[in-house]
């Protein structure tokens, strides 16, 4: 086997491993909320998913999630936080704020109306 073949094969295998990791195993980094006047606040951009998709907040303090949908695709036009009974319509390029107060630590999900985009709220 020539040296180029070994190199190309190695790159190919790494690429396969990367695909498996990138699409199936990736969990994303968490972002902590900023605190001001007792209100925790995070800006979330909706574009093919939630950025950030994983948000750390403290229990017992109100959390304000500012969702801004920056895509024409209608997938993300609704955001749902089932555990808090919140469902909001997100007009394109408008910021819609949702305020919740998580009392108990734990993980709470938020998703789009079809459950394709997924985010997590990690309450500590």
């Amino acid at each position: 086997m020539a040296i180029t073949q070994i190199i190309v094969s190695a790159i190919g295998l790494v690429l396969i491993a990367w695909i498996v990791w990138y699409f199936w195993m990736w969990r994303g980094a968490s972002v902590s909320a900023q605190v001001q006047d007792g209100m925790q606040s995070v800006d979330v951009t909706v574009k093919g998913g939630y950025q950030p998709a994983s948000i750390m907040v403290k229990a017992g303090q109100p959390v304000r999630l500012n969702f801004t949908r920056r895509e024409a695709s209608t997938c993300g036009e609704e955001v749902v936080i089932p555990d808090f009974g919140k469902r909001a319509h997100l007009p394109e390029n408008n910021t819609v704020a949702i305020v919740i107060t998580p009392e108990k630590p734990g993980e709470y999900g938020f998703t789009c109306g079809m459950n394709m985009y997924r985010g997590r709220l990690i309450v500590t």
Partner: protein, 771 residues
């Protein structure tokens, strides 16, 4: 402005958060800027700015303190952030979106025709020979012609695929972008530089790219048209309230708007009027129809000290009451709030096709890389060229043409088929979800039962003849408007018993009636009536108890001051309820009954209907909570199971059922019920029979099965094409992917999907088991 740099302010009219840059309106008042979510809000503000500034004091100055509004004060478009209301503007946007998708489809279709024609000519040897010298020119022409299809008709797939990629997602968009993009690029390179390709691999796939996009955009347009959502439910709920109240202030009766009634006001209600707010009766007595709030059809007799509920209807007498709950505190306002909450907390359900794609797309990418490596390491020379061609061919063939049609076409046939049988399904998602229901919760009154009392038993005491008993009771009740009395009158008519006119008649509210027929004195009513007339109750007791245990209401009859007999009435089961319950259970669905009635009556009805599990004495406001409990219970009872698999349906008819209908994964409204229930529900049963639930689940299961077959049919030809594209037949047959194979896979998957979806038209549910 918060620290992250996104400036939002609060619309002072409805309390919604808006960004000044994109606000629909702006006004200046007393040196402060105000922004609005809609022009309606701006108009309202401009008309009376002070009233809004004071109401939302400080909101504009401290935007971070504002939450999503709890009550959107008369600003309809502001309700949409709560998901409770879909405005006209939103419906217009949907219509525009549909029109755009159809234009995109027509562009792709019109360009697709000449492209397909050229590709077919290419398959005819003589035509192919004639075209050969022009191969490059024709190829370039088609590349230019088809580019707008990819860029405009299919542009959303590419942008969505890119956004998805950046978020580590793959879905149907990724698959389409990958397949059509690879096909177009590959074909364009073939047109420009055919020399790069090993012999027999220089085929063009422009037709694949265009037709895939045309059909998938058509599928999206069909789905968009089928999309409609509950909207007016909350508005209708609020319209149930009385508009004004007659309040006694300073000794004078004055009519005031509902909003001006305060706690402690003395309110006067006349017969036939709506009760404006919640309160406690001070004086007077009446029968009150509370069905609008409680769902119970029989008016309730009330007197001083009893509670009354706003929006219920006063039937017989006039009374005054003291207001105890007004505004957002009334029972009706709480129901509105519950509906809003329930609509917002329903977890979304994923789409099957995207779930498949999220596994399929990375798999295809991996297969493409393996293909490349195999050719690069073990293939014939020129290795790099063969490796490139086969890798791209795998991506081209992987995208099924009929993918976009597989779901919507079955849903449209399924929804149409259901409508033929009087089952109106709101949208495709509801149909998908209904097929996975594992639990059905049935409201008792009006759903399982007829919702009005009927005569069931006539029992003479001490040898009193039964026909005579019924004749006298019916004659005595003839002038009464009470539904229990009417049940006796109708019962007597049905049995062909002649009825005399009473010579004297006196209705005793909360007790019964007293009448004279000929020379006989007749009393028909409850224990209290007999006690009032000093008639001993012992003779009645044993039998009355037995009727009560069967869920019936015993009416005691005394003739000439002696116990004569008991007439029992009950809200009986609808004729087909038993059969429908049994069929549901046979389909593997747990059936549960929920009711505000007492345990004993509930058990009796449930037993007749063959239902084992009963939730009785449930307050109207607790129905939705019980649905949540059941949804959780299902999850915890089956650890590890995903939410999609265990779902709870609720069948009801009353306004009190609305929050539960909204909370349930699928709400079924009885078509003879209230408008609000129908608007909240996902499925409406026009006929009112519970067989509709059976049919809805059966058709949805058949449809979902059909969709799965369609997805299988859409994918299978292309999946079979993958090994050919990867070149597994090359060593034996010298065969690689050709445009013929790609075209055949495209046609076969589309024909399979359309034909299979049409099979649903012949769906007939399994015969219903007879009760």
């Amino acid at each position: 402005m918060n620290e992250a740099g996104v400036a939002t302010v609060t619309d002072p009219v409805c309390g919604m958060e808006v960004t000044p840059g994109s606000a629909a309106g702006h006004s200046e008042h007393a040196g402060t800027d105000y922004y609005f979510c809609s022009s309606t809000c701006k108009q309202k503000f401009d008309a009376a700015p002070e009233s809004f500034i004071n109401k939302n004091a400080g909101a504009a100055a401290h935007p971070t303190a504002a939450a999503v509004p709890e009550q959107a004060a008369g600003c309809s478009s502001c309700m949409s952030p709560l998901g409770a209301d879909v405005t006209d503007a939103e419906q217009e946007a949907q219509a525009r979106e549909y029109a755009t998708l159809m234009r995109k489809f027509w562009l792709a279709a019109i360009i697709g025709v000449p492209v397909l024609a050229v590709m077919f000519l290419d398959l005819i040897p003589s035509a192919r020979q004639a075209m050969t010298p022009w191969h490059g020119v024709i190829g370039m022409g088609m590349a230019i012609l088809t580019f707008p299809v990819l860029a405009w008709s299919g542009g959303q797939f590419f942008s969505a695929a890119w956004n998805n990629f950046r978020n580590h997602n793959t879905n149907m968009d990724t698959l389409i972008a990958l397949g059509t993009g690879a096909a177009w690029l590959y074909s364009t390179v073939v047109a420009v530089a055919p020399g790069l390709f090993p012999a027999g691999t220089a085929g063009m796939y422009f037709d694949v790219a265009v037709i895939v996009i045309a059909l998938i955009v058509l599928g999206q347009a069909l789905e968009m048209r089928a999309k409609s959502r509950s909207g007016a439910a909350i508005r209708n709920l609020l319209e149930l309230q009385a508009k004004t109240a007659r309040v006694i202030r300073g000794g004078q009766e004055i009519d005031v708007p509902l909003e001006e009634v305060v706690i402690g006001d003395t309110v006067l209600v006349r017969p036939g009027e709506k009760i404006p707010v919640d309160g406690v009766i001070l004086s007077g007595e009446s029968a009150i129809d509370e069905s609008v709030v409680t769902g119970e059809s029989v008016p309730v007799d009330k007197q001083a000290g009893d509670a009354v509920i706003g929006a219920s209807v006063n039937k017989t007498g006039a009374f005054t009451f003291r207001a105890t709950h007004v505004g957002k505190e009334t029972a009706l306002a709480r129901i509105v709030e519950m509906v809003r909450r329930a609509q917002s907390s329903k977890p979304p359900i994923g789409r099957l096709v995207d779930k498949i794609s999220s596994y399929f797309v990375p798999s295809v990418m991996i297969v493409a890389i393996i293909t490349f490596l195999a050719w690069f390491n073990f293939g014939p020379s020129p290795m790099l060229n063969f490796a490139m061609v086969t890798m791209v061919a795998v991506l081209v063939i992987a995208c099924p043409c009929a993918l976009g049609l597989a779901t919507p076409i079955s849903l449209m046939v399924g929804v149409g088929k259901a409508a033929e049988h009087g089952v109106l399904i709101r949208n495709g998602e509801a149909l998908e979800t209904a097929s996975r229901l594992t639990t059905i919760v049935l409201d008792k009154t009006g759903t399982l039962t007829k919702g009005r009392p009927e005569l069931t038993d006539v029992l003479g005491l001490n040898g009193f003849p039964e026909d005579e008993l019924l004749r006298l009771a019916a004659a005595a009740d003839r002038r009464s408007e009470h539904p229990l009395a009417q049940a006796i009158v109708y019962g007597a008519q049905a049995r062909g018993i002649p009825m005399a006119e009473p010579d004297s008649f006196n209705a005793v509210p909360g007790h019964g009636v007293e009448a004279t027929i000929g020379k006989q004195h007749v009393l028909v009513g409850n224990n209290k009536l007999m006690q009032r007339a000093a008639i001993p109750l012992e003779a009645f007791q044993a039998a009355a108890m037995r009727f009560a245990e069967q869920g019936k209401t015993p009416m005691l009859v005394a003739v000439d001051h002696k116990p004569a007999g008991i007439i029992a009435v009950a809200d009986t089961l609808k004729d087909d309820s038993i059969a429908a319950v049994r069929t549901l259970q046979r389909m593997g669905i747990e059936v549960i009954m929920i009711t505000g009635d007492n345990e004993r009556t509930a058990r009796a009805v449930a037993q007749q209907a063959g239902i084992k599990r009963v939730l009785a004495e449930v307050l109207p406001e607790d129905k939705a909570r019980h649905i949540v409990d059941l949804q959780r219970e299902n999850q915890s009872a089956r650890p590890g199971s995903s939410r999609e698999v265990w779902l709870v349906g609720m069948v009801g008819d009353g306004i009190n059922d609305a929050p539960a209908l909204a909370q349930a994964d699928i709400g079924f409204a009885i078509g003879t019920g209230t408008d609000v229930a129908i608007e909240v529900a996902d499925v409406t049963l026009v006929g009112g029979s519970l067989h509709g639930v059976v049919y809805a689940i059966a058709i949805s299961r058949a449809t979902l099965r059909n969709i799965k077959q369609n997805l299988f049919g859409a994918f299978i030809y292309n999946v079979l094409g993958i090994p050919i594209a990867a070149g597994v037949f090359y060593p034996l047959l010298g065969m690689l992917l050709s445009p013929i194979i790609a075209g055949a896979a495209m046609a076969a998957s589309s024909i399979t999907v359309v034909t299979n979806a049409n099979r649903l038209r012949f769906f007939e549910p399994a015969p219903v088991e007879k009760g």
